[in-house]
């Protein structure tokens, strides 16, 4: 009965049927398309390597890399955990640091004027160059690794959040003033929600950068006390000319990056879908 009704409705309105079909196709393509492209890329890589007879020590084929991943899985998995741990801690710190600084700057224009240049300096200073100083100042290797990764990741979050805090609607600002909101209330109830879409974009950039930061930190700070991460494995494999393994570690870093990005995208979607233009679903 209900089925017949639906069918009748569809028959009565072919356009509506077409739209429903388009929606279904899209929902399906959202997952299959990236996978299909992935398969194509891997296939292309495979063909490129085999047809041109590229030696495995220059560019190993996907089959070989997959074999290595399977064979060395226990080691690689441990390395991934180590790297993921540093990256996630660094991201958390970047959120606290970048978001916190943005809030601080928004609370006091004087602070912003005085200290924003130093945030820029921190961003542009090559970690490789100041890592020794960090090592001198901070005893613990894990902490110094975190500091390095944090330096790499915090700026996009700071910058985007600052912009977001400034973008709150001026009429709403006026409203808050009239109702005698304290600076703190205005921040919490008005500016932070307004900044959310900007912050989340910064977060997604910061997510990737914190992973990069973790890798760089491992390069320059080393693994003492933190176990062997993927970066160390890359270095070791590259030194030992074990190129397939190096690619395996690289692939896992990429995977980790995509996973972090997707998790943050999902978070962003959940937080914004009810109200923000960029996320609200509309009829086409």
């Amino acid at each position: 009965m209900s089925l017949a009704e639906t069918a009748a409705a569809a028959a009565a309105d072919p356009e509506e049927g077409a739209r429903a079909r388009a929606r279904r196709i899209e929902a399906w393509a959202r997952w299959t398309l990236p996978v299909a492209v992935l398969v194509l890329v891997i296939l292309g890589w495979h063909l490129f390597v085999t047809l041109n007879r590229i030696p495995h020590y220059i560019l190993p084929g996907p089959v070989r890399v997959a074999e290595v991943i399977v064979a060395d899985w226990p080691v690689l998995w441990d390395g991934m955990l180590v790297t993921a741990k540093i990256a996630l801690y660094a991201l958390a710190l970047a959120v606290l640091g970048g978001g916190g600084l943005a809030v601080l700057f928004s609370l006091s224009r004087w602070t912003e004027m005085s200290f924003f240049p130093y945030a820029v300096i921190l961003q542009v200073t090559p970690v490789v160059a100041i890592a020794p100083l960090i090592k001198i100042a901070v005893d613990d290797a894990f902490t110094s690794a975190l500091v390095c990764a944090w330096i790499v990741a915090f700026f996009p979050i700071l910058s985007n959040t600052t912009m977001g805090l400034k973008s709150a609607d001026h009429n709403l600002r006026d409203l808050y003033r009239i109702y005698g909101a304290t600076r703190w209330q205005r921040l919490r109830y008005l500016e932070l929600p307004s900044a959310l879409p900007y912050f989340l974009t910064g977060l997604r950039i910061g997510g990737g950068l914190s992973l990069i930061g973790a890798v760089v930190a491992e390069f320059v700070i080393g693994t003492a006390g933190t176990g062997l991460g993927l970066a160390s494995m890359i270095q070791e494999a590259s030194y030992r000319l074990n190129i397939p393994r190096m690619f395996a570690a690289l692939a896992l870093i990429a995977l980790l990056g995509v996973a972090i990005f997707m998790a943050l995208t999902l978070l962003s979607h959940l937080l914004l879908r009810r109200w923000h233009e960029s996320a609200v679903r509309r009829e086409a």
Partner: protein, 307 residues
């Protein structure tokens, strides 16, 4: 014919012989136009050779040719310019009298060193992974803390520390404590040996002659090239390096005294291989003989240039 030789560091006196032959036309005599491509801390010129973008590469020690064999990569060492690797461990004065004393210190070791000689130090002397920190070619953390020691290059760090920090550090040459590898190897692809043996021979011979002339003749032309490629290089630095190379017999000692610079012997390679197998750095299955060939050396070339 144009060939490219990639070194593994910025231009310095330790590359002097090669620059010498470029400068005085020794390579050109047998028809080679050689370009020297300097390396650096993060630069990987070996990958360029594997990809066929350069012809020869300067290897640090024998471990990498062993790795190449293990991975089925046809890289072969055709000459060993340094009989001793100038790799040193440097400590603050009074902190370590013997090599064993270093075990009490935190060691700053770069990634390459960690993967090679440090593994041997672990096995042969009982150093630990935990006491090692990465060395990013910045000695400041060493200077800041007396309880650290760091890796170094015989002719570089000790000189700098003396000049800048004003104290004479304690220096341990690894080669004198059993790390018996050759160094400053000329590596090339098996393919090149097979298809262009004349080019290989020419490059090896030219390099050997260059080293004799650099050490015993007038190095000024080579030094000009080095300073041009690396503006930070100074005359006194170069002079110090040449002096140390001579003092420690880095280039011209042992087999080289009889077979000529560049000499390699199977016995010596096997000795090192066995040590590395014992240290767990290299798998015992590796066919170590494939890692090098004596076909182009041990001929006493250029010995007449020695005064």
């Amino acid at each position: 014919e144009k060939v490219i030789f990639g070194t593994n560091w910025l231009a310095q006196a330790e590359h002097g012989g090669f620059y010498q032959s470029v400068a005085d036309g020794t390579y050109a005599e047998c028809g080679l136009e050689v370009e020297i491509l300097p390396g650096g801390p993060q630069v990987n010129n070996r990958a360029m050779m594997l990809a066929g973008r350069i012809d020869f590469h300067m290897g640090g020690n024998l471990l990498q040719p062993f790795s190449a064999v293990e991975q089925g990569i046809p890289v072969v060492a055709v000459a060993a310019i340094f009989q001793k690797e100038p790799q040193v461990i440097i400590a603050h004065p009074g902190m370590a009298e013997t090599f064993e004393d270093l075990k009490k210190l935190t060691l700053l070791i770069g990634e390459n060193g960690y993967q090679s000689f440090y593994q041997w130090m672990i096995k042969a002397y009982g150093f630990t992974r935990e006491q090692r920190r990465p060395y990013t070619f910045n000695p400041a953390p060493f200077l800041a803390d007396k309880n650290t020691a760091m890796q170094g290059y015989l002719s570089s760090e000790p000189y700098l520390i003396k000049k800048e920090a004003g104290f004479e550090p304690k220096v341990f040459l690894l080669a004198d404590h059993g790390f018996s590898t050759y160094s400053t190897l000329i590596e090339t692809m098996a393919d090149t040996i097979e298809k262009r043996p004349a080019v290989v021979q020419c490059f090896v011979d030219g390099s050997i002659k260059g080293w004799y002339r650099y050490l015993y003749g007038d190095p000024s032309a080579a030094n000009e090239l080095i300073k041009a490629a690396n503006p930070e290089m100074t005359d006194d630095k170069i002079a110090y390096a040449i002096e140390k190379m001579k003092e420690y017999g880095i280039v011209d000692s042992g087999d080289a005294l009889t077979l000529g610079i560049g000499a390699m012997t199977e016995a010596r390679v096997k000795d090192f291989f066995d040590k590395m197998v014992a240290a767990g750095v290299v798998s015992p299955d590796v066919d170590w003989k494939k890692a090098f060939t004596t076909r182009f050396v041990n001929k006493g070339v250029g010995m007449e240039l020695k005064p």
